[in-house]
């Protein structure tokens, strides 16, 4: 065998190994800030009773319609349908965004074969970043992030998410953490407090 042939064979084997090693990269874990949600402040309802129709989070490129969500038959909260054009959903038994209490909006992190969900990057939010909810009555409530937390689904903090507060607050919820066969082990929860409201 000539030396040239040997080199050619070695190059070919190297090319095959490069193809074999070209798998997809690992996903990063969302970071969470360590600040607890504020529990104090003035008790105000900055907007009238209405329904949120749009949600905008400039820091992570979210601008989505908002649908109404109720309760599922098993008592859990409904989630938006798995669809190509994913959207967020407002839990209709929570206060209108901008009124005193914890308003709750949910969205998917991934939507199966359709890819990323509307809240795919929710875990990238940081304290102070802006969340804008536009209501059906034409007003808008602007919130500032106070905390981003990743929690185990087995220990979901219902009291902190749904419990009473003395000012208008917002909770954005999606899934996160490790993937299992058909879902995720954790929830990512963004806590936010009202910073302004108006038309």
């Amino acid at each position: 065998m000539s030396r040239l042939s040997g080199r050619a064979l070695a190059i070919a084997a190297l090319a095959a190994l490069l193809v074999a090693c070209g798998g997809p990269g690992a996903t990063s874990t969302p970071s969470a800030s360590a600040r607890p949600p504020a529990k104090s402040g003035k008790s105000v309802s900055a907007v009238g009773r209405s329904t949120p129709v749009r949600l905008r989070i400039p820091a992570i490129g979210v601008d989505t319609p908002v649908m109404k969500l109720g309760l599922a038959a098993d008592g859990s909260v409904q989630v938006p349908p798995i669809a190509a054009h994913d959207r967020a959903g407002w839990y209709e038994h929570s206060p209108t965004p901008g009124r005193t209490g914890p308003s709750v909006i949910l969205g998917h992190v991934t939507v199966g074969a359709y890819g990323d969900g509307v809240f795919r990057r929710l875990g990238e939010l940081h304290r102070g970043e802006k969340i804008v909810t536009r209501l059906e009555n034409g007003t808008a409530a602007v919130f500032a992030v106070t905390e981003v937390r990743t929690v185990s689904k087995a220990h979901f903090p219902s009291d902190e998410v749904y419990g009473n507060v003395n000012r208008p607050e917002l909770r954005l919820i999606t899934c996160g953490g490790k993937r299992t066969g058909d879902g995720y082990l954790d929830n990512v929860i963004v806590f936010a407090a009202l910073s302004s409201a108006g038309p």
Binding site: S5, L9, A12, G23, D74, Q78, I82, G89, G115, F119
Partner: protein, 125 residues
């Protein structure tokens, strides 16, 4: 000599492409994966009717099973929300890359062996 080397390179490149591309075309599963929307439909839908992407998932049959409370959230849901449907091909893609790469390597080595045999025969003749 140069011609021989170029021939070997062309053979190797062809083998890599031929081995890698078809291996990824349909994934590695022998059976087709089910449509993911079947198991991830809104949990309160009363029947197996596929939901339209624009229809809200709150339907009349999903009446709250809990008594309203006096809190700001009038009905507190139970459990954690399931807001993530895992893409069905996420696990098989990395496996597919390994299998495809292995197939490509096998084709390249086989082609190289054939080349060497023919080269030896040519030298011996």
């Amino acid at each position: 000599m140069r011609r021989t080397g170029l021939s070997a390179m062309a053979l190797a490149c062809t083998a890599v492409l031929a081995g890698a591309l078809p291996a990824f075309a349909d994934g590695t599963k022998a059976t087709p994966s089910p449509v993911p929307t079947a198991t991830q439909a809104p949990t309160s839908a009363p029947s197996a009717r596929p939901s339209a992407s624009t229809a809200p998932s709150a339907v009349p049959s999903a009446a709250p099973t809990r008594a309203p409370s006096s809190g700001q959230v009038s009905v507190v849901p139970s459990g954690a929300p399931n807001t993530g449907a895992v893409p069905p091909t996420s696990d098989s893609s990395s496996t597919g890359a390994l299998v495809g790469g292995g197939a490509a390597a096998a084709v390249v080595l086989g082609g190289g062996a054939v080349f060497l045999v023919r080269r030896r025969q040519a030298n011996g003749a």
